[in-house]
Symmetry: C2
Subunit: 433 residues, 2 copies
């Protein structure tokens, strides 16, 4: 966003609390993985750096589901071979910083924002660089792209009639690693998102370019099993051996990593308005942090940027036009992806291992094959299109009602290939391409 | 709460940001009115100050509904003559401070809390009294009874996995006054809560001991009509004359008051947990601020105190037992009254003027008259009992389902007196007395 603004001739400065991550060596296997999908690529194309980013991703063409017995089954995301793309968060950040700098954005690291005077467009920072000092900045527009615990949003929270919620789910997560095999190869199929769904919890693994996998265990904080119960290495070993038997031999450092790595919480954040006084605005996680189960957090943030830039195309730097239009346009979509992400947790940890779920997906795939302009599975609308999230959610609801009726037929498992598919899509308006 | 603790031998100090309100003359008609109902009285009895408070209240035995034509109709709260009691917030606070002081609570005014170290039970204050100075207090237990914008809760918001939401409704409110008549009498029936329901907005009036009424206009911030549209005295006069014609002659200072008094917002606050580290806890609005439409905000806060004190009876000062039990017990009830209060706004501003609503209430009253141990209207369960809010809400839902069926009968307006009342209550378990 910043360099798009810079490219348009705005004078843009970036203030970042951390130091320059480009000067820190990143351990690829340890960095958090993100999955770039269509909305992300659309924004990256607009930025002109999609080709550059493509050199750093690993495509995942479907889910590889691992059963408790260690069997696997592959569920492609689409018949057309659509993929989502695993990328290291650190690497992506480095690329974005490089290009921002090239476009003339002034980068100010180690600046911790302590207060924002929204009305007058003034931000206050303490700088940790050499000696501790204070810096005050005045700007026509302050953009809070500062994440789930946004300092700009904190300032907005002090204003009247600012709606806000932060909701922590009862599950936490811990990152673990599957390193390359001793011979330097991928230990699992690389072009898949691996899932070990276990009802109330799950393990997932995403491929890295260095042939390792970053695993994430999603598990309740309390209860049985839970992070609370896994306080000793022996308990961790026993739990993994019982529930993820095929993963254990691939994780030589399981117990050490489990003990050393933090157990992190998962928060869903919602607020409104996203702008104040026509000189401040929130984008990305600052305005709508979501749980990670739809892989859309970063993609939604990138889409904010695309929408924002389109509005600038329309109105120029008339913030009194751009900012209200931006928040009114994006809020319903942020709400939609928030609900969808929460619902997808249930699907991932539970349903993907379910026979009925697999059959349902098969019938949906068949509907899509026969009537591609009338039926697109919800996952595809969210992941492989630029359709508004709120439209995708609404269309998904319509399709779900049809599928509920189909799945309620007593003999559906036998007769699904003989369904009157045309009748099923009859009531649905054609999708815009 | 504080003086109950003091009475039990705890060393208790109260820190308050404002100065001692007992030293400031209160203008009765201007202070915000509260309505004490059964839950409030139960706690006040426990505190032993119910008789004292009764000297300062005005009973309201029902709703006096004012039509747009200026007609009135009285809807009693119950056939038994149950009442809610209008009291000035300032007067009640003064009484509570007096009794707290007598019981040995140390009162520290003009102390503004700047930070709370929850883990170590340390609170930091700046004192505005004479010279600005800083005070640090350590305590075994810090109770945040510090309202909707609680400083203790702010400290909790910085801890991990703290769920929080603040939601502002699109309506605001403004206080106005109906003074006593020139001959010094009540200008309206004093033993009623007066409502001018107008669909999307409403005016209410509560009696004061000095024979004035405190009026509150609840109106949208934006839209038509709205506070935004009422920016000039002439517009205010025209609006009131059209929509509240019988109130206008009773409000000699309408336009000045409307211009001078602030337009305030209405927030609903929810959070969890309510305690941290077994040495801090939230009570009242700090943990569950509600919109004012059920008249239960203060009553719910007083009920927190009753429950808290009952748990201390059971566990003594073992905070590791008392605090988790307190928050687990009260959270569902806080959630229930929050939803009920939001729903009652619709009832007050809209339904009370509706013929079907009035008939529904009549049938419910008849059900209660015939089967008092099986049917208690929701309003009575909330207002005139100490039944848990969550139980009242659930019972209310059961009764609403029955009433929905009754009201769906095509000839109900004619035949309601011939209903098979016994059949209606058949499935309902007997209410605990």
């Amino acid at each position: 966003m910043l360099f798009l603004l810079a490219r348009k001739g705005f004078s843009v400065s970036l203030y970042e609390q951390r130091s320059d991550i480009r000067k820190i060596k990143i351990r690829e296997g340890r960095s958090i993985n993100l999955a770039v999908s269509t909305r992300g690529w659309t924004a990256l194309e607009l930025l002109g750096i999609d080709e550059l980013v493509r050199e750093h991703v690993v495509p995942m063409r479907g889910r590889m589901v691992h059963s408790p017995e260690g069997d696997t089954s592959f569920q492609p995301y689409s018949a057309e071979g659509d993929a989502i793309f695993s990328v290291s968060r650190g690497r992506l950040n480095q690329l974005l910083l490089d290009i921002a700098e090239k476009c003339g954005v002034k980068l100010c690291f180690s600046h911790k924002c302590t207060y924002v005077d929204l009305k007058h467009g003034i931000a206050y920072f303490t700088v940790a660089a050499e000696e501790l000092s204070e810096v005050t900045i005045e700007a026509d527009l302050i953009i809070g792209a500062d994440g789930a615990f946004s300092a700009v949003r904190k300032a907005m929270q002090r204003t009247d009639r600012f709606n806000f919620s932060q909701y922590y789910i009862d599950w936490g997560y811990k990152e673990l690693t599957i390193p390359p095999t001793p011979s330097g190869e991928w230990a699992l199929e690389p072009n898949a998102l691996h899932i070990w769904p276990r009802g109330n919890y799950m393990l997932i693994a995403l491929p890295n370019l260095d042939k390792s996998f970053t695993c994430t265990l999603f598990l309740g904080f309390e209860g049985d099993p839970s992070f609370e119960k896994l306080s000793k290495p022996e308990a961790v070993h026993a739990f993994f051996t019982t529930t993820f038997p095929d993963a254990v031999p691939l994780m030589p450092n399981l117990q050490e990593e489990f003990m050393e790595n933090p157990t992190s919480s998962l928060v869903s954040i919602s607020c409104y308005p996203w702008t104040r006084y026509n000189r401040s605005a929130l984008v990305g996680d600052a305005s709508h942090a979501v749980v990670p189960f739809y892989g859309q957090g970063m993609n939604a943030g990138f889409e904010d940027v695309r929408v924002f830039m389109e509005l600038i195309e329309q109105w120029g730097a008339d913030w009194s036009k751009v900012l209200p239009a931006y928040e009114q346009l994006r809020k319903p979509d942020a709400d939609a992806i928030q609900e969808l992400a929460m619902a997808n947790f249930v699907e991932m940890r539970d349903s993907v291992a379910d026979e009925e779920f697999v059959l349902r997906k098969k019938i949906e795939a068949e509907l899509h094959r026969r009537y591609p302009r009338h039926w697109l599975p919800l996952y595809s609308m969210v992941t492989f299109s630029n359709m508004r999230y709120s439209d995708a959610q609404e269309r998904g609801r319509q399709q779900a009602r049809i599928m509920d009726e189909v799945m309620a037929r007593p003999d559906i498992a036998q007769s699904w290939q003989e369904l009157d598919y045309e009748a099923l899509v009859k009531g649905l308006p054609e999708l815009k391409s």
